[in-house]
Amino acid sequence: MARKPAVPPSPGAAEPGRAKTGEPTGRDDRAAPGERFGPLAIERMSKDDGRALIVYSHEEPGQA
């Protein structure tokens, strides 16, 4: 399948630290410390069986 261009960036919201292409990270990759997307802090991990796990955090007065 031919490689397609990345989804164009949103005109409305700043997303500091967003990957330029949005390409998937390899399963062994860990995000650079401080990766963010809008209001979210992102931590990428790899589970014991190799599956990807992403944990998103944000500012919140109390736990939901």
């Binding site: 979210l40 796990l53 944000h58």
Partner: protein
């Protein structure tokens, strides 16, 4: 590994994911795989003692790389509750998580359509009660979004934009509205309490929304599901699907579509389910016992009660 076969008679794909037959089915509360892994407790899918929102590759995927994607989105580390009981901040954060997953999955060469959805209730086949949704990255354009693009052709422009204009002009079936978002029971609702939540402005996907629109979308979705729960004073089952622009194929298709969220609740009364039987399955024609205008009035009242 899933296999695809094309149903020539209906003109649509069928997916065979036979490994899913063994997936976890309604585990006891103590063995919920979506709980955090607590010290001394059983390991779960999330090897952390606490988290806010977690996304991981489905252990029993319908699609997997390089033939698509299947992810689980866990809304909270609390086992009890629902999308309706999340804090407003968490619900808004979830919109950003959806946006992020749409961006990353949609950029993959093996994903042509990103579908974010939630099945709620055993009535729609839920196998885990912990508040969560799912995302499928289809390696093809499925038939429903393909029909939506065909509706654009038929209506001479963006179909959801035109249908929203008609609903606002009629107003009988509108149940919620804000500066950015309108929710209505559609003119030709198939399910008794089907609701579409639509962005007022043309937005092809979550990527095109500004932060206020994302916030108002989360507010509308929570108000609606709280109203659903109030309608019959019971947890209200539904299938919720986020419709967005396709991400694969022709560039022209990638720029089309209009972000909206559709709810397909199976209840037609407090204790009666709508089944897809002869006409629905054999002819593709829904036969409903309820007029959309009456459902909209009931939902408006329930939403007001739940507010």
């Amino acid at each position: 590994v899933s296999r695809l076969r094309f149903d020539e008679l209906r003109g649509e794909q069928v997916v065979y994911a036979i490994d899913r037959q063994e997936r976890t089915f309604l585990p006891s509360r103590e063995h919920c795989p979506l709980d955090p892994t607590r010290p001394g407790g059983p390991p779960t899918e999330i090897p952390l003692p606490a988290f806010q929102i977690a996304v991981f590759d489905n252990r029993f995927p319908a699609f997997e790389s390089p033939g698509g994607a299947a992810e689980v989105v866990v809304y909270t580390d609390r086992h009890d509750g629902s999308f309706a009981t999340l804090s407003a901040e968490r619900a808004e954060a979830l919109m950003w998580v959806w946006r992020h997953r749409y961006l990353e999955l949609g950029a993959r060469p093996d994903v042509d359509y990103v579908m974010i959805f939630e099945n709620r209730g055993v009535e729609v086949g839920v196998t885990l009660h912990h508040p969560h949704g799912q995302i499928y990255g289809y390696p093809f354009l499925p038939s429903v979004p393909a029909r939506e693009l065909a509706a654009d052709e038929r209506l001479g422009g963006c179909a959801p934009c035109e249908l929203l204009r008609r609903e606002l002009a009629d107003a009988q079936r509108v149940i919620l509205d804000s500066d950015s978002v309108v929710a209505y029971v559609p003119h030709a609702a198939r399910w008794a309490y089907e609701v579409h939540v639509v962005l007022r402005e043309h937005r092809a996907s979550l990527l095109d929304c500004d932060p206020l629109e994302l916030r108002e979308l989360s507010v509308a979705l929570q108000a609606l599901v709280r109203g659903f729960d109030a309608l019959f004073a019971r947890p209200f089952p539904y299938v919720m699907v986020v419709h967005q622009s396709p991400t694969g194929g022709l560039d022209a298709a990638r720029s089309r579509g209009h972000l909206h969220v559709e709810f397909y609740p199976p209840l037609r009364t407090a204790d009666k389910l709508k089944y897809l039987a002869g006409s629905e399955q054999g002819a593709g024609t829904f036969i409903s016992d309820t007029l959309p205008e009456e459902s909209a009035a009931a939902l408006r009242e329930a939403i007001a009660r739940a507010a």
